[in-house]
Amino acid sequence: MRFMAAMLAATVVLPSAAAYATDLEVTHWWTSGGEAAAVAEFAKAFDATGNKWIDGAIAGAGSTARPIMVSRLTGGDPMGATQFNHGRQAEELVEAGLLRDLTDVATRENWKEIIKPASLLDSCTVDGKIYCAPVNIHSWQWLWLSNAAFETAGVPVPKNWDEFVAAAPALEKAGIVPLAVGGQAWQAAGAFDVLMVAIAGKDTFNKVFKDKDADVAAGPDMARVFKAAEDARRMSRGTNVQDWNQATNMVITGKAGGQIMGDWAQGEFALAGKVAGKDYTCLPGLGVNEVISTGGDAFYFPVLADEEKSKAQEVLASTLLAPATQVAFNLKKGSLPVRGDVDLAAANDCMKKGLDILAKGNVIEGTDQLLSADSQKQKEDLFSEFFANPSMTPEDAQKRFAAIIASAD
């Protein structure tokens, strides 16, 4: 029955879509190997509706791409659709009326029911209206370990952060960098957030980032996190690469023992033909505290004057969330689908661990959802300095961290 209905729907949709074949430029910053493979799945699915996906990839991570996207929007040269990390990055663009209200599409397709966890759609909602289509769940809280590197060093693959710290000297002796941390500022800041959830726990994380409690940020729990960050800083010496995927590549090739990076790193492992559990090991929540954040990527649709393009935007929005697209995209990307009702039998060990934690509800909101871009940037400045400058003490860093939290909005 369902199949028949789908067929009928397809016959109805296809001719009309073909009649309105429209080019839609989509901007995003998915340019590493694994990411490009994933975004090609979106393009394929959208082209199949009779429209045309014009790829507007902007290289150099979100920090480079977002300013370009924002200036195109505020400068009156909107694209057909654009990626952002959902959360507060597009907040003001919505308030300024530059982005389109998708509530119609969302009600028609019943997004409220199918999107899990609900916080994803909440982050898209401003004043009860839905402004974005979430496409995946990305969690930061992963430690990726190279099994080959530990074999070379002659120590067993660690099962948690403490064992990893203990194994670091052996790795160093074998000429391996224990922890790869790329030079871009967001990587240091992200790694710190992960240490924070793993070591101080979910409550402290929420108190600091959600309630902006500066006393907790200056307190003893956070002091332990800063001590751990000092360990991480010592272990990351000698990384000497900039991009996250170059750092991941050090883990893939066994030049580094491990990397704290979001699950998007998995796409790189998959592309290199590595098998989870055999070639590499993943530890969600650093093996200490199995919690994952449910930030991710979402597509926003600028307000366009062209009616046909606006129609194509609606088609794109529903294509992005279609079950088949969700599975194909997320398998390549290494992220988790936003709908709970799709079959991910093809998922590997690491993704299954992630799905498991998600099902248990051990989730936190991502820092992009909790903090404004301004506070995030100040945090990035602090941690990129901390990780690069061994003479900066954890106590000083904590003081500055507490000041950032106190002034955060």
Binding site: S63, R66, P67, V70, S71, T74, Q89, E91, E92, L93, A96, G183, Q184, A185, N240, Q242, S372, A373, D374, Q376, K377, Q378, D381, S384, E385, F386, F387, A388, N389, R400, S407
Partner: protein, 300 residues
């Protein structure tokens, strides 16, 4: 003179009328875009504008935060080091090269092309090239190590204490050729007879350069100085390409702070405050100098 001044006023307004009309668009551009934009920026630096400009005034809050930010302090220090050394080295090296070129050497054209060539490259390309040259794994360090000195260490871009000098090397390599060319043109403008007179008086060549030729080249030096100085204040792309401000925040510069806070942090107010500070710094240097230079001359 006096006769002209008597009836001068209406005539002076009408003199060269067509060229005055022709320059109206440029004057409007200067006033509306440069002056207007500058005033707008200064005014909005006193607001708490985030992603979009909003006229919600908060006094000096943005400036207080700016001068509390360690990254801004580091940026200012870096600009001071980079600026002072660029000014000194590019003028000294540029002048020495120009003086050597001026000795009627063979293949002067070839040398001139070689020295000027780096200037044809953008700062982005320069930055990337020097990033590779200074990279310990494939650059100078690995070459020297391959020759046998295995303990040789030269990795300025990965050492927070000296990274700004790594940027300086690239900046000098790119800009010195232009300084050389400008000064060479200045040297060529010196009358041959002055050299002959100096030789007749038995003045040694270095003294002739130092006490006669250089003072005569004052206008060329001022032009060169302005070109170098404006390049220093706006240095941005070189740092982005070479180190992206790293390691950590060790090679940040003010222009990069402005960009990052305006667009990445979506905090226009903070970015405007930083760019206003840059303007104030330039004004502090330029205004007394311009007063001495141009205000003084009228009285002479």
């Amino acid at each position: 003179m006096t006769g002209q001044a008597h009836t001068g006023r209406p005539r002076r307004l009408l003199r060269n009328l067509s060229s005055k009309i022709a320059s109206i668009p440029m004057m409007l551009t200067a006033v509306v875009i440069f002056l207007g934009g500058t005033i707008w920026t200064v005014v909005y630096s006193f607001t708490n504008s985030k992603l979009l400009p909003r006229a919600n005034f908060v006094g000096f809050d943005q400036y207080e935060r700016l001068w509390d930010a360690p990254r801004w302090i580091v940026s200012i220090q870096n600009l001071a080091i980079y600026g002072a050394l660029t000014l000194v080295f590019s003028l000294v090296v540029g002048f020495v090269l120009a003086a050597l070129m001026d000795q009627k050497i063979r293949f002067e054209n070839t040398f001139r092309t070689i020295f000027l060539y780096p200037f044809a490259l953008s700062f982005i390309v320069t930055g990337l090239v020097w990033q590779w040259i200074l990279n310990p794994e494939f650059g100078v360090q690995s070459v020297v190590r391959a020759l046998g000195w295995t303990s040789f260490t030269f990795d300025p871009l990965y050492n927070a204490d000296i990274v700004i000098y790594g940027v300086l090397i690239a900046g000098l390599w790119q800009g010195t050729g232009l300084v050389m060319c400008l000064l060479l043109a200045g040297l060529r403008g010196i009358d041959e007879d002055i050299w002959k007179a100096a030789r007749v008086d038995g003045i040694p060549m270095w003294k002739t350069y130092l006490f006669i030729v250089i003072p005569m080249m004052r206008p060329v030096f001022i032009t060169t100085l302005v070109i170098i100085a404006s390049g220093i204040v706006k240095v941005y792309d070189l740092v982005v390409a070479q180190t992206s401000g790293g390691p950590g925040i060790a090679s940040e510069v003010p222009a990069k702070y402005v960009y990052d806070y305006m667009f990445q942090a979506q905090n226009l107010g903070q970015g405007f405050a930083a760019s206003t500070m840059m303007l104030v710094t330039v004004a502090i240097i330029i205004i007394p100098w311009a007063y001495l230079e141009f205000g003084g001359r009228k009285r002479v």
